[in-house]
């Protein structure tokens, strides 16, 4: 009887093989001419960015989002594609010090930008304090939203430090505060389908407390 452990492929390799076999089929059935989509020819453009401290120049189809450039071209798969419409926050990265949804921006719009992804925040042996706090407080269950949650949380603390107010700030004329209510409101663009919210807030509050 076959046992799953007999399989030498990882799930990721199987996915790659699957894509390769589709590619092989397509190459026999389609002409070699550039693919036309909706009667239009794909257009490419170059963009140079600093990604996690490394200068990179990419030549991309203009349609490539920053998210797809990071995942599919730079193979930085820590940043996740959730909804691909700016509703879930799984794709959150930090661009020039600000958190954004990488799914709702084109890579070519970021000429000269400094991009920080979850891979640029810390490493397995040298965790960013926010990563360590998420581990300590169990701020996740399946983990899919976690890279976005952590990038967002790191930027949220900077936003409070930089006196950017929020919807729940009681007084616009006084400095923004590190309160749990503030953290919850400011993290509302990151959805966690597992519902790890209370632990996520505890993790962020701990880092906020030590940084405040």
């Amino acid at each position: 009887m076959s046992n799953f452990s007999d399989w030498k492929f990882t799930r990721r390799e199987v996915l790659k093989l699957g894509a390769a076999s589709v590619g092989a089929l397509a190459s026999t059935s389609l002409p070699a001419a550039p693919a036309m989509e909706g009667g239009r020819k794909p257009v490419t453009a170059s963009v140079a960015m600093d990604i996690n401290g490394k200068a990179e120049t990419l030549t991309l189809d203009t349609r490539t989002t920053l998210l797809d450039a990071l995942r599919e071209h730079m193979h930085l798969t820590g940043t996740k594609k959730g909804c691909d419409h700016g509703q879930c926050g799984a794709c959150t990265v930090i661009v020039d010090g600000r958190r954004i949804n990488s799914c709702l921006t084109l890579a070519v719009m970021h000429q000269g930008a400094k991009i920080t992804t979850i891979e640029g925040l810390g490493t397995p042996t040298n965790l960013h304090p926010m990563q360590a706090a998420f581990v300590k407080h169990d701020g996740y269950q399946c983990g899919y939203c976690t890279p976005g949650q952590i990038c967002s949380a790191v930027a949220v603390l900077d936003e409070i430090r930089n006196d950017i107010p929020s919807h729940v700030s009681a007084d616009l004329t006084t400095k923004a505060q590190f309160t749990t209510t503030e953290l919850r409101e400011r993290m509302s663009g990151n959805i966690c389908r597992c519902g790890a919210y209370s632990n996520i807030v505890e993790a962020i509050a701990e880092v906020a407390g030590s940084a405040a």
Partner: protein, 319 residues
């Protein structure tokens, strides 16, 4: 997403001229709404003109004692500006009630004014929609209309303008500054910027082909208590069912614009004489002529009750 060519604009006038000349050209700034719509095939530009490199990202005082906000000032920066927080609190509050932190970091002042409706039938390319495909009909009329307009709609369209920022700007009498394809600049009062749908719901603003928004000016501060109250299905990161933007003076006079109820920020200066008589009387005048559907009739009641709460809050703050 359909393929498109791409250029980085070098000046506002050159961008406007290029947009007028090239068929299917669109400006892109924050892109948070445009790219969303391009992914589902609602928008299919042939050419994108990236205006992010233009020097339109500052907030400057005007000679008249107001503020001039550059078109590319991000929503976060506008909401956090100390002058806006002090003198135009309504605007900060409206911006902070909208979207998420990530989106506010990217979204611009001009782009926020140009947000497309969130009507579910506009988003669904399998459905008729006069705004998306002129002449195809309106699936919202007689369809699911809970989130849609109760006033200002037409037999062609009952979509709602979703911007919170624009509602505050309407109460503040903001003026939109543009440059046209021929290089001429013009100033459009916010009241005339967004159009009612009538028989042509696909024409949403007063902008001409190629015309580029370069900034928004706010007149001198008018004082008073500023309150933006947004009622939505969840406590954060949701579009308004009803929102109330109010500036209330000590004597009970003031200005009120409503969001979530109409194809444009809804304000009627003539009705404001009734504001000192309370929410019921005033809302009766402001929403006279409302034609809600069975599903969204609650918005008329909700608007009155939300305004009641806003006036109570303003009174408490002012005393």
């Amino acid at each position: 997403m359909k393929p498109f060519s791409y250029e980085r604009a070098t000046s506002p006038a050159a961008a406007a001229a290029a947009a007028a000349k090239i068929d299917g050209a669109k400006f892109i700034a924050g892109g948070t709404n445009l790219l969303d719509l391009m992914k589902i095939g609602v928008e299919e530009p042939m050419h994108l003109i990236d205006v992010n490199g233009l020097a339109l990202d500052t907030i400057e005082p005007t000679a008249e004692g107001g503020l001039r906000i550059g078109a590319l000032v991000r929503n976060t920066d506008l909401a956090a500006d100390q002058r806006v927080r002090r003198d135009y609190g309504l605007l900060s509050r409206a911006l902070l009630a909208g979207a998420s932190g990530q989106l506010r970091n990217k979204a611009t002042t001009a782009g926020n004014l140009l947000q497309r409706t969130r009507c579910p039938y506009f988003y669904d390319t399998n459905q008729p929609c006069n705004k998306r495909l002129p002449g195809s009909g309106c699936a919202a009329i007689g369809g699911s209309s809970r989130s849609l307009a109760v006033i200002g709609g037409s037999a062609s369209c009952i979509a709602v303008q979703p911007s919170d920022m624009a509602v505050a700007m309407r109460a503040l009498d903001a003026v939109v500054e543009t440059v046209r394809a021929d290089g001429q600049v013009r100033r459009i009062p916010i009241a005339e910027f967004h159009r009612l749908p009538g028989a042509r719901p696909h024409v949403e603003t007063a902008l001409e082909r190629g015309e580029l928004i370069t900034g928004v000016t706010l007149p001198k501060p008018v004082g008073g208590v500023h309150v933006y109250h947004k009622v939505r299905d969840r406590a954060s990161y949701a579009f308004a069912l009803v929102s109330v933007a109010a500036i209330v003076q000590k004597d009970g006079s003031g200005r009120v614009a409503l969001g979530g109820v109409a194809p444009k920020p809804w304000r009627d200066e003539a009705a404001e004489q009734y504001l000192p008589q309370g929410a019921k009387v005033f809302t009766g005048h402001l929403l006279a002529g409302a034609a809600p559907t069975e599903e969204n009739a609650f918005k008329v009641v909700l608007a009155e009750r939300t305004l009641h709460a806003v006036l109570a809050e303003a009174k408490g703050d002012a005393s």
